[in-house]
């Protein structure tokens, strides 16, 4: 079946089976920034934004994305340069496998006017097996106010504490 959605700001068309998951579609098209980790929605390596919400692309049937606004780590790296800079400044990565998912989660948190819990709670579903959590949290702590200012109409809405 043919599914249309917006990917990283551009129109995108895919011919998929009913239960093809978004992760397989993206990687099959060469967009390997989105990683496969656990494959069951736990680790966060495959996180993408769908209509502004973070989702596990490993469990997301492509047909459920019809008409949606989808962003991957590749697109967010262009859209959120301050966030990427914050990760680099804090060396918030070691092997890098979880980094695209961490960036997606960070972008979702920045855009969330009322997230549940603090940064650590929000990122609890993004596993880093190098256990490099402290610099990731530091990068977000530093970038939250700065990045929030970049979201029109949501100044001061980072609200994570």
């Amino acid at each position: 079946m043919i599914v249309h959605f917006t990917l990283n700001g551009d129109p995108f068309e895919a011919d998929v089976e009913a239960l093809t998951v978004l992760l397989d579609l993206l990687r099959g098209r060469g967009m390997t920034g989105t990683k496969e980790g656990c494959g069951v929605g736990v680790c966060g390596a495959c996180a993408v934004l769908v209509d502004g919400s973070p989702v596990s692309s490993c469990l997301m049937p492509v047909p459920c994305c019809g008409g949606a606004d989808v962003w991957t780590a590749e697109g967010l790296a262009r859209r959120e340069p301050a966030l990427v800079d914050a990760f680099l400044e804090h060396e918030a990565l070691q092997c890098g496998a979880c980094t695209p998912g961490q960036l997606v989660a960070a972008a979702a948190l920045i855009a969330d006017p009322a997230p549940a819990g603090d940064i650590r709670r929000y990122l609890a579903g993004n596993l880093c097996r190098c256990t490099g959590y402290a610099p990731i949290v530091a990068a977000l702590e530093k970038s939250l106010p700065r990045a929030v200012e970049r979201v029109p109409g949501e100044a001061g809405g980072g609200g994570s504490g």
Partner: protein, 283 residues
């Protein structure tokens, strides 16, 4: 190759689900794991995400809260109606899995999947929830307390879907709380989860309900624990209620703990929950 249907109404969904090998899809966080592991090979997938009537949260004339079965957990805990009337449910929903799960998982899917470790069943049990189910024979109401019939089994008939969860208006003096014990990651399933609601009038507990999640083959009320809390409960009553929950537990041994450990944790977290409800500031 499976067919994909995305009906716009409940009646169309029921028609689509009438075919052999058809399954209903909510957010996919449970169903896709079954598909990917080969446990489920649907011939037709009926996605319920395009049905507006399933996505609404409304307050009925009698004060009951009607939550559409297709409401996503992130929308449930952000809803002003949920927060103002049932803060315990909002808080529990904000703790399910991780933000990626909450963004797509639906309340109906959460309950119908019937994994005994789901967080919201014990909360809804102590709040006295009932369910609406629609099927080929029409719509019926059933109490959540009778919904689970076994391990990952429910009273839903073939071709039926949940359409709504109904919560009666909270009685005056009602306080309720839920505690989930996750010794590993905060985003893990709970080793045990316990919920309780107490109605306190003139310093007397006049209604009480306690429910256990993740401690048996399905989430369940523990009536003896509720009864122990009537009147003016002290430490003895709390201990008796906690013992009743431990006795009702029938946990499985897995990576989240041995059966004996989970039973002990069910007792301990029930004690903490009830102490907090009686003496702390929880809702």
């Amino acid at each position: 190759m499976a067919e994909f249907h995305s009906p716009a109404t409940v009646s169309q969904a029921l028609a689509d689900l009438g075919a052999e090998g058809a399954v209903a899809l909510g957010g996919g966080t449970a169903l896709m794991i079954l598909v990917k592991s080969g446990l489920l090979e649907p011939e037709r997938v009926v996605w319920l995400g395009r049905i507006p009537e399933l996505r609404q949260i409304t307050v009925r004339g009698d004060g009951a809260l009607v939550i559409g079965a297709g409401v996503r957990l992130a929308d449930l805990w952000r809803s002003p109606e949920t927060v103002s009337r049932y803060a315990v449910l909002a808080e529990a929903a904000s703790q399910v899995g991780n933000p990626r799960v909450q963004a797509v998982a639906t309340l109906g899917g959460h309950l119908a999947h019937a994994d005994p470790r789901q967080d919201l069943a014990p909360v809804l049990l102590v709040l006295g929830a009932s369910l609406l189910a629609a099927g080929p024979a029409g719509t019926r109401s059933l109490p959540l307390a009778g919904f689970y019939t076994g391990f990952m089994s429910t009273a839903l008939q073939a071709g039926e879907i949940l359409t709504a969860v109904i919560l009666p208006p909270p009685p005056p003096g009602c306080r309720a709380a839920y505690l989930r014990f996750t010794p590993g990651s905060a985003s893990d399933y709970p080793t045990v989860g316990v919920a309780a609601s107490l109605v306190v009038r003139d310093r007397q507990v006049v209604e009480a309900a306690v429910a256990l999640g993740a401690g048996a083959a399905w989430p369940q009320l523990v009536p003896e624990a509720g009864r122990a809390m009537f009147g003016a409960p002290g430490q003895d009553a709390i201990a008796a209620a906690a013992d009743a929950v431990a006795a009702a537990a029938d946990p499985s041994h897995d990576q989240r703990g041995s059966a004996a450990y989970k039973r002990d944790m069910a007792r301990l977290w029930t004690q903490r929950l009830l102490s907090r409800l009686l003496h702390g500031g929880d809702r």
